[in-house]
C-alpha cells in the first residue's frame, strides 16, 4: 500500500502532537498525585500498602545476599578492632558486675515495697520479631520496611524496638509488610522525659542522625550524657523505653543521639503493649471508644 507523502507528514505531526500532549498530561498527573498525597492520605496509603505488599517477597529475597555482604564487611571491621574491643568489654564487664549487684538489691527492695503497696504491674507485652527488608528513603525520608503485616498481628502505631531501645513506630501496615517511621524522620514526634530530672519534652526528628529535644521546660538543666526515655504521655508508647542520650547543647538546641543506628538493624521487635496509640489504628476503627 502506498501512502500519499502529504498524508505521512500530517500523520507524523499528529503523532508528535499526541506525544507532546501525553507528556504534558503526565506532568500534570504528577502534580495531581502530589496534591492527592497531601489531601487524601487514606487513598494514597492504600496504594502504598498494595505496592509494598506486592514487592515485599522480592525485597525479602534480595535482602538476604545484602545481609550476607554486610556481615562479611562488618566481620572484617570487627576483626581489626578486636583487641581494643576486648579491653573495652573487660572494663565494661567489671562496671556492669557492680551494677548487677546494685540492681539485685534494688530489685529485691522494689519487690518488697510493691507487695506492701498492692501495686498493679503493667500487663505483659506481646511481641513479634521481624526482619528489615527495606532501608528506604535516604536523605528525604527515614523509614524502613518490615516483612510482617496484619496477618502477623502488626497494627498501626505499635512501638518498634531493637534490644530494649526504641527504633520508631509502625506508620503503615499491609497484609505482609509494614513500614516503620524512624525516630529521626522529620514527621516523628515522641513525648519523652530526661531520665534523671524527669523533665518532659518532645523528641522530634529532622532527617539528621541526631534528633532534637523540643518544648523542654526552661529550668530543666539538660546536660550532655543524660539519658532520654519515653514518657508514656499520649498513649503511643509505654513509659521508660530507652531512646538515646543527650549529645550536644548548642544555641539552646538540645540534640539527642539515639541508641539505635539504622545501619545496625537487621531484626527488630514490634511490640504490642495494648495501648490505644495516637494514631487511629485499624483495630479501633469503627468501634465505640
Amino acid at each position: 500500500m502506498k501512502q500519499h507523502p502529504g498524508m505521512v507528514g500530517r500523520l507524523a505531526t499528529l503523532r508528535l502532537l499526541a506525544q507532546r500532549f501525553a507528556f504534558l498530561t503526565l506532568v500534570l498527573a504528577s502534580f495531581a498525585l502530589m496534591l492527592l498525597g497531601k489531601a487524601d492520605t487514606i487513598l494514597v496509603e492504600r496504594l502504598r500498602v498494595f505496592v509494598d505488599d506486592g514487592l515485599a517477597p522480592v525485597l525479602q529475597v534480595m535482602s538476604r545476599p545484602a545481609a550476607a555482604i554486610a556481615s562479611v564487611v562488618n566481620a572484617v571491621h570487627d576483626l581489626a578492632a578486636l583487641r581494643a574491643e576486648n579491653v573495652r568489654l573487660a572494663e565494661e564487664n567489671e562496671r556492669l558486675m557492680h551494677w548487677q549487684t546494685v540492681a539485685r538489691e534494688l530489685d529485691n527492695e522494689n519487690r518488697a515495697l510493691k507487695s506492701q503497696l498492692n501495686f498493679m504491674p503493667d500487663p505483659d507485652a506481646a511481641f513479634i520479631t521481624a526482619r528489615v527488608i527495606g532501608d528506604t528513603g535516604g536523605a528525604f525520608v527515614h523509614s524502613m520496611l518490615l516483612n510482617v503485616g496484619k496477618r502477623d498481628g502488626v497494627r498501626k502505631g505499635q512501638a518498634v524496638i531493637a534490644g530494649e531501645n526504641l527504633v520508631g513506630r509502625i506508620a503503615e501496615v499491609g497484609d505482609r509488610s509494614a513500614r516503620i517511621l524512624l525516630l529521626t524522620d522529620i514527621n516523628s514526634h515522641i513525648p519523652v522525659i530526661i531520665e534523671n530530672s524527669r523533665a518532659k519534652a518532645i523528641l522530634s526528628g529532622d532527617n539528621t542522625d541526631r534528633t532534637r529535644l523540643n518544648y523542654l521546660a526552661p529550668n530543666s538543666n539538660p546536660a550532655v550524657g543524660n539519658r532520654i526515655v519515653t514518657s508514656g504521655h499520649g498513649g503511643a508508647f509505654p513509659p521508660g523505653l530507652p531512646v538515646g542520650v543527650i549529645a550536644s547543647l548548642q544555641d539552646g538546641i538540645v540534640r539527642v543521639e539515639p541508641f539505635v543506628h539504622r545501619y545496625q538493624l537487621e531484626y527488630v521487635t514490634v511490640v504490642d503493649y495494648g495501648l490505644p496509640g495516637v494514631l487511629p489504628s485499624d483495630q479501633t476503627d469503627g468501634r465505640d471508644q
Binding site: Q19, A22, F23, L26, V27, A29, S30, F31, A32, L33, M34, L35, L36, G37, K38, V44, L47, R48, V51, D52, L55, V58, L59, M62, S63, A66, A67, I69, A70, V73, N74, H77, V132, I133, G134, D135, T136, G137, G138, A139, F140, V141, H142, S143, M144, L145, R179, T184, I186, D206, N207, T208, D209, H261, R262, Y263, Q264, L265, E266
Partner: protein, 171 residues
C-alpha cells in the same frame, strides 16, 4: 503463524526490559545494606536507568513508563508520591530531546550529560520536597547521594549496554 502467540509474548517481555530494569534499580536501592558508612545515604539508582533507556531506546522508555517507574520508586522509598514521577518525566523528556546531541559522542560526554541532568533532577526534588511537604533533607547527605549516583553510572550503564546488545538487538 504457529509461534505467533509465543513470539508476541517474547516480544512483549523484551519490550518491558527497560522498565523492569529501572524497577530492579529501585529495589536495589531499597535493600538494607547495613553499611555504617552508608547510613542514611541512598544513591538514586533508578535515575541511571531512566536516563540510559531514554537515550538509547526512547521508543521503549516512553513518558508513561517513566511516570509509572517514578510512582513505584516513591512508594517503595516511602517518599511523597508524584515527585519521582515528575523527575523521571523531566529526565526522559530532556534526554529524548537531546538525543541528537549525544549521538556518536564519547562515553565521558554521556556521563557528563547524566551528571548535569541528575543535578537538575535533585534540585527539583529538593524544591518540591521542602516546599510541598516540609521534608528538607540534610544538604550534605543529598550531595553525597548525588556524587555516589553519578559515580555509580558506568556500571549499570555497561550492564545495560550488554543487555541491549543481547536482548534488544533488532527489536
Amino acid at each position: 503463524m504457529k509461534h505467533g502467540a509465543l513470539q508476541r509474548v517474547d516480544h512483549l517481555i523484551r519490550q518491558l526490559l527497560p522498565a523492569s530494569l529501572v524497577i530492579v534499580l529501585t529495589l536495589l536501592q531499597a535493600v538494607p545494606w547495613r553499611l555504617p558508612a552508608m547510613a542514611g545515604i541512598v544513591p538514586m539508582l533508578p535515575m541511571i536507568g531512566v536516563f540510559y533507556w531514554s537515550l538509547y531506546r526512547p521508543d521503549l522508555l516512553v513518558p508513561s513508563v517513566a511516570f509509572v517507574c517514578g510512582l513505584v520508586n516513591d512508594i517503595v522509598m516511602g517518599a511523597p508520591i508524584g515527585i519521582s514521577s515528575l523527575i523521571f518525566l523531566a529526565i526522559q523528556g530532556m534526554t529524548a530531546a537531546q538525543r541528537r546531541f549525544f549521538n556518536g559522542k564519547s562515553f565521558l560526554v554521556v556521563w557528563a550529560g547524566f551528571a548535569t541532568l541528575a543535578a537538575g533532577a535533585i534540585v527539583i526534588q529538593l524544591a518540591l520536597s521542602s516546599a510541598l511537604f516540609g521534608r528538607t533533607p540534610l544538604v550534605k547527605a543529598l550531595l553525597i547521594e548525588y556524587l555516589i549516583t553519578v559515580f555509580c553510572y558506568p556500571l549499570p550503564s555497561w550492564l545495560f549496554s550488554k543487555l541491549q546488545m543481547s536482548w534488544l538487538r533488532g527489536e
